[in-house]
Amino acid sequence: MERSEAKNFFLQKTGLSGRRLEKVVERALGNKVEYADLYFEHTVQEAVSREEGRIKKVIGNISHGAGVRAVAGEKTGYAYTDEVNLKTLDTAASAAKYIAKYGPEHGSFLPVKVGGEARNIYGLPRSPVDVALAEKARLLQLVDEECRAYDPRIREVIATFAVEEKRVLVVRRDGWMVGDVRPLIRLSVQCVAQEGNRREIGSYGGGGRLDISYFFEDNHYKSFAREAARSAIVNLSAIDAPAGLMAVVLGPGWPGILLHEAIGHGLEGDFNRQRLSAFTDKIGRRVAADICTVVDDGTIPNRRGSLNVDDEGTPTQRNILIERGILVRYMQDLLNAKLMGMEPTGNGRRESYKFAPMPRMTNTFMLPGDLSPKDIIRSVKNGIYAKQFGGGQVDITNGNFVFSATESYLIEDGKITQPIRGVTLIGHGPTALTKVVMVGNDLELDSGVGTCGKDGQSVPVGVGLPTIKISEMTVGGTRI
């Protein structure tokens, strides 16, 4: 249904038949080109922002185009156009095929497995772009009111509701086509609290491949609003953060960004094939404590990082990356899987038709252990408890990674005490997870806010974590 919907959409919009498209792919093929595909995309985005107690911004975006890829050995030719017709597609195919001039003498592409039955892990009653603007404006107003009601010190609220519908269609050389229609929504809330001259920010947000009704069910919108307000109020009493090596406890959910940065990027197939990753040649080796099992799962219904099929048409799957501390799998797209003699894992993703795909994460999380979060905190004499994070980054080659806490606390004698100011934590990917000494029983997936950047391409992702304790990590505060 979703698949044929996307197919029919593009055939109708371009006025081309499936056979015609197959011919375009054939044009990109030929001498030395082992594989070629076509990728069509039509994305509609809309965002409404409320600020200063009124609707401040209504903006939209329509993005439409197609890309042709030709692969010869390790080489990729890629051409795209946003004027989609037979002529421009043929030109793009010829440009992509230019790569063949430099291709190897022999080569054969991995026979692509056309995966299982059509499924739909989004299952929405309507497209998010069809929801009336009035309904979106109403959600934002309710959020605004809830934030201000939380505490009189909340002075400013910015709330944004963004929706997207992305239609994609992949056409491969044998004329095989697979499409997907992907909804995505996100609510972002930012509060400024003021006390005397001190002003602090608190943010929260989330969503997924969901309908706007999600925010009204079980008063979800209220908890989003309150979290942003609470975080701003907490920060009003934050003191300078400590500097140096200490024990770190990460709360459940979004702090799973640790996994994304510390090991996730380092386990992407392209970096390992090219021997650029600190995890190169480490399959079968210990990279984490035996209480750690880490999974990347693109199949969880309605999650921000989930997809029916990746951007090469491969169905997503649940991939165990680290099993009881041992590295078992890299994340792969078609090209890198073939060149490494491994199986594609459904991780071939791209930001848009303007880019060739590469291995990317979907939803990355650690499986729960059996300790209570309370016991974990009680075990720390001196350290910090980090609850909310901004972004993170990694140098995949030397393994250094950072993630920046926006809400964290001191732990003193087994108790959470003072909130501390914004602080960056730094670690070394291949050893960070070997220092995980306790894993909680409270796995949570994040609320649906993550966007991952790699080589200038952004894609939506998810993370998750139970409460964990890391025996020592460098905390980048100012207080020595």
């Binding site: 903006i59 080489k75 890629y78 440009a95 993630f403």
Partner: protein, 437 residues
């Protein structure tokens, strides 16, 4: 793909649903080659358009972007934008830029270089191969490359509004960048170097880019964690540019009128060391960020943001200017050629002035809060001992308060070079907290 006719047609149609309207568009053609291990890795070629429509009725406003400029799609764009306008609310500061700001001489900035327009895949391949070869030739420990890339773009920029303006200009751009890996029994380190500009005669030679990247990777091999302490920190020209990027965000109109920056309300005050002067100069011929007018059609002007430590200008578009009771500075769409003015200390003098401290060459992560001034980032660099670069350090953080960092700029280098549209010489900050072991 896009032409003045299409833009004027859209503007005419927009007039039927709105009092005021503007259309901005960029038509871009790009081609590039990347090389790895002496062989081609990727080749890419594209033609694309981005068109933005903004419409106003009274003080209400809505805007939309599209990459599809077929008539059918633009009709749809008009319908959608009109629908969005119904849900927007009154805001007195909304509106096109004042007509007076848009009238005058449009400067010829020589941003189009026919030599760049003529670059072929083959030319790019040669440059990319030269960069990589120079990196490999620099030291036998350079054994791997992530990417050595050369690319060229041709842009046509259009702007039209119901003020009766229709303008366009062409720009070329060439970029060269390499990310190369040093490897020894002490592990692997990656480093990159690059240049971006609109005149090929000013581009850094490929060999120099390759060697610089190789040098930066090699010198990080065997990095260790430094002990936690408070020391002077020297930012090299790359990391000083990152610091400048944070600073410019703190003076951006949107953050100022919202009171979201530690520099709100500080215009005219001394906020930094007298050694610090920051300028933004859109009207310099053949520079990477030059532009005759901004994204609202406002004619560009050169400004000083900070002059000898004094905050002299915010970066404003029309909306934020109206909110602040000021005039636009022509910065809709951001900075142009932004830089810290060079000082009179050589890099050697700056390093020699540090008894024990950090020469930071890479920064990692976000870790900045513009409202409170918190700064805490991951870092990599070289430890300075007794005035000399002694040994590499990594997996450390540097932290401080942006207000203090600005005041504590103790030396400014004479080594300003424009590798892109943002640039800084080396700068030394007298004290920051380094956290390591």
């Amino acid at each position: 793909m896009i032409s003045a006719d299409v833009i004027l047609w859209l503007l005419e149609r927009a007039k039927k649903i709105a009092d005021q309207a503007e259309v901005a568009a960029v038509d871009k053609e790009k081609r590039g080659v990347s090389v790895r291990m002496g062989d081609i890795k990727d080749m890419s070629s594209s033609r694309s358009v981005k068109l933005s429509l903004r419409i106003l009725r009274g003080n209400r406003e809505a805007s939309m972007d599209t990459s599809d400029v077929s008539r059918e799609s633009l009709e749809l764009l008009l319908d959608k934008t009109a629908e969005m306008l119904e849900y927007s609310e009154e805001d007195e500061a909304n509106g096109l830029a004042d007509a007076a700001e848009c009238v005058g001489e449009v400067r010829e900035l020589e941003l189009y270089d026919p030599l760049i327009a003529a670059l072929s895949f083959n030319d790019h391949m040669k440059v990319a191969k030269k960069m990589e070869k120079a990196a490999f030739g620099y030291d036998p420990r350079i054994k791997n490359t992530r990417d050595s890339a050369s690319a060229s773009s041709l842009y046509t920029v259009f702007y039209a509004s119901t003020h009766g303006i229709l303008r366009s200009y062409r720009i070329t751009a060439v970029s060269r960048a390499i990310e190369t890996v040093a490897e020894s029994e002490q592990g692997m380190q990656v480093a990159s170097w690059y240049c971006y500009g609109n005149n090929i005669a000013q581009a850094i030679p490929p060999e120099e880019i390759g060697r610089t990247a190789a040098h930066r990777a090699i010198r990080q091999l065997g990095g260790i964690k430094a002990p936690t302490q408070e020391v002077p920190v020297v930012f090299d020209s790359e990391t000083a540019s990152i610091f400048l990027r944070i600073l410019v965000d703190a003076v951006r109109g949107g953050n100022i009128y919202r009171n979201r920056s530690f520099l709100t309300g500080r215009l005219g005050e001394e906020i930094a060391s007298r050694l610090l002067t920051v300028r933004d100069k859109p009207l310099v011929a053949r520079m990477p960020g030059s532009r005759p007018f901004d994204a609202e059609g406002v004619l560009s002007r050169n400004i000083d943001v900070i002059s000898e430590g004094r905050l002299t200008s915010y970066l404003l578009d029309s909306y934020s200017a109206r909110r602040l009771g000021l005039k636009t500075t022509g910065h809709a769409g951001g900075y142009s050629n932004l830089y810290i003015e060079y000082g009179n200390s050589s890099l050697q003098e700056i390093i020699a002035s540090v008894h024990g401290g950090l020469y930071v060459t890479d920064l990692l992560g976000f870790g900045v809060n513009l409202l409170t001034g918190e700064f805490s980032k991951g870092a990599r660099g070289i430890w300075i001992e007794k005035g000399e670069l002694a040994y590499p350090v990594e997996e450390i953080t540097i932290a401080g308060d942006l207000r203090d960092m600005l005041r504590n700029i103790e030396m400014v280098g004479d080594d300003l070079e424009f590798r892109s549209s943002i640039a800084s010489p080396t700068i030394k900050i007298s004290r920051m907290t380094v956290a390591g072991k």
